[in-house]
């Protein structure tokens, strides 16, 4: 112990980034979250090695509603389709769509909010009015209205759900740009003659990005839940394309006697969302150690 302490640098010598990483690594739940998330992603990515895509749709009436066994680890559904295969390939849609939604909302929101915050004045007023308007409609309803117009489809679902998130990101980015713009060190940088671009890249971005990344991670969890809820309601992704929510919905009638059909996909959603939430909480505590409770 004593020797270890000697070799350790004093805390003041670490850069801000190193400190954040250091605190994040020390957070046990966050590390569990990272582990779980890597596992889920890996399983989804190597799905073809575990089950060929054909098994997702291959019906096998003879082996319908088989309880979990060596051959079908998660059992089979009403049509004799392998539940494991459906969950693996369904996860691709659930997870990748969520990431796409967050990505789209993040980038668009950052552009809108950043522009509004940095330029201020009329641009700000107009952009924020639109954002306020979008925010006054509950996001689930907005998504449903968009789906009414566009119809079912994976990418249409992504579009519908990301529009509801853009407003939040735009607001967040704007307010952090606004607070940072008036900070003393930005003033100081301006006094030293730094260009606007340099100020944005060197000062505003590193200082403002933390909370936004944290919020993006935490939102990812709720977006995964939204996608599966939409799937459950039969909006967006339609059977026979597998998606975690659709899988539960299509097995609804059989859940009473074959509960594994509902429990297994549910647990998949839960573990994925939980891992994302752990990571988000860990990031929040790492970026802002004062908020740690």
């Amino acid at each position: 112990m004593a020797r270890k302490k000697k070799t350790k640098k004093p805390l003041s010598e670490y850069s801000a980034g190193e400190l954040i990483l250091f605190r994040f690594r020390k957070n046990k739940l966050a590390m569990i979250g990272v582990g779980m998330f890597i596992f889920v992603t890996l399983m989804i990515l190597i799905a073809p090695l575990i089950r060929p895509y054909s098994m997702v749709v291959k019906q096998d009436i003879v082996h319908r509603l088989n309880k979990p066994s060596a051959e079908h680890i998660f059992g089979t559904d009403e049509l004799g389709r392998d539940l494991l295969a459906r969950i693996l390939y369904g996860g691709r849609i659930s997870l990748f769509c969520s990431l796409a939604i967050i990505g789209i909302a993040f980038v668009t929101g950052a552009i809108i909010g950043g522009t509004a915050g940095f330029f201020g004045g009329k641009v700000d007023t107009i952009l924020m009015r639109v954002v306020d308007m979008l925010m006054s409609v509950p996001s689930a309803l907005l998504a449903m209205a968009i789906i009414t117009a566009l119809g079912n489809g994976v990418w249409k679902l992504v579009l519908a759900l990301s529009i509801g998130q853009i407003a939040r990101f735009a607001r967040m980015v704007r307010s952090s740009v606004l607070t940072l713009r008036n900070r003393e060190y930005i003033e100081a940088a301006k006094c030293f003659g730094s260009s606007s671009w340099r100020i944005i890249m060197k000062h505003i971005l590193p200082n403002g990005i933390g909370p936004i990344i944290v919020s993006a991670t935490l939102t990812l969890g709720s977006v995964i839940l939204s996608i599966s809820s939409m799937g459950y309601l039969g909006l967006g992704v339609a059977s026979p394309t597998p998606e975690w929510g659709t899988i539960i919905s299509e097995n609804k009638v059989n859940i009473q006697y074959y509960p594994y059909l509902g429990i297994i996909p549910g647990i998949c959603i839960m573990l994925t969302v939980m891992s994302v939430n752990f990571i988000g909480d860990g990031l929040r505590d790492a970026f802002d150690p004062k908020s740690k409770k």
Partner: protein
């Protein structure tokens, strides 16, 4: 009278919001494809009949004209008729709204009534069994989709134990499980919010001042900490309400409650534009009004909020 003025001002501010929201919805929903008149009349109708109906519904006119006409009708409380079913949007809405509101209010009641005390208790007894327990429950509820929790509870309490009815609205027992499921997520965020807020507050200087005045810990918690810790939580209730109404769509679907949610889902699936339009506008108004009420409550709790400015 200050608050009355404020409430009126806020209500007036709701008008431009509603106008612009309807406009955006109108644009979005104008992308809905398909020949509406054909859909309404069926395959046997002649071309002339279809064109006539299109003209009658005003669908052959430009978007802006249709929008103005829609708003004009809406002003006279005419939100149009469903394209797929034979009913009036407003009439159907007024039949269904009570169920949705009842379930949503019960859900919020449950979420705040259970969530806030638990959150505050776990902050006071930080690192106790209660604290760890409620943190764990929060963690679970945050990662569980409501439809799954609903389905599983239905499986356990209704289909296996037969304590509660599976679906429908046959007795008061039908209104036990749906609010619990709908409120579960909000309850989790209430626990988390009030815990965090309480932990913030009990570290405040004025709490130490109150202790230095000779108040016992229990006294100070009761007279100083709780009220202050509730301020951010009350604001959160307003925000949660929007989410709760959105969640009601799922809950109503699981338990087959004939509220607005089931209406909306069917309308979205059959692309029944007037119904979707009407539903979203109504819910936006309701959420706006609820937020106004919550802001008024906030002003009551927090003297720093000045309604006049």
């Amino acid at each position: 009278m200050n608050w009355l003025k404020y409430a009126l001002k806020r209500l007036l501010m709701l008008i431009p919001v509603i106008i612009s929201v309807t406009f955006i919805l109108f644009i979005i929903l104008s992308f809905a494809p398909g020949d509406v008149a054909r859909m309404v009349l069926g395959q046997d109708a002649t071309e002339e009949q279809v064109a006539e109906l299109n003209h009658e519904m005003g669908l052959d006119r430009p978007l802006l004209v249709r929008y103005v006409r829609y708003m004009w009708d809406a002003l006279h409380l005419d939100f149009g008729r469903s394209w797929t079913g034979n009913f009036d949007v407003l009439g159907e809405f007024s039949h269904r709204l009570p169920y949705t509101l009842l379930v949503s209010f019960l859900a919020i009641l449950f979420a705040t009534g259970v969530g806030i005390p638990f959150g505050i208790a776990s902050a006071i007894k930080q690192y106790s069994l209660l604290d760890y327990g409620s943190t764990f429950v929060v963690m679970l509820l945050f990662s569980m989709p409501a439809f799954w929790l609903g389905t599983m509870c239905q499986l356990l309490f209704c289909l296996t134990l037969h304590w509660l009815p599976v679906s429908g609205i046959n007795s008061w027992k039908s209104f036990i499980l749906p609010p619990l499921i709908l409120g579960a997520n909000t309850m989790a965020s209430m626990i988390r919010m009030s815990r965090t807020s309480m932990l913030d507050v009990i570290r405040m200087d004025y709490i130490r001042t109150a202790r230095a005045k000779g108040g016992s810990r229990r006294y100070v918690t009761r007279h100083h900490a709780i009220r202050n810790s509730l301020i951010p939580v009350v604001t959160q209730i307003g925000i949660s309400f929007a989410g709760t109404i959105g969640g009601a769509v799922v809950t109503e679907n699981i338990f087959a409650i004939p509220g607005i949610g089931t209406l909306l889902i069917n309308a979205v699936k059959s692309r029944d534009v007037p119904v979707v339009m009407g539903t979203v506008i109504f819910i936006t108004i309701i959420v706006g009004v609820i937020n106004l009420v919550v802001d008024l409550i906030c002003a009551l709790v927090d003297p720093r909020i000045d309604l006049a400015s």
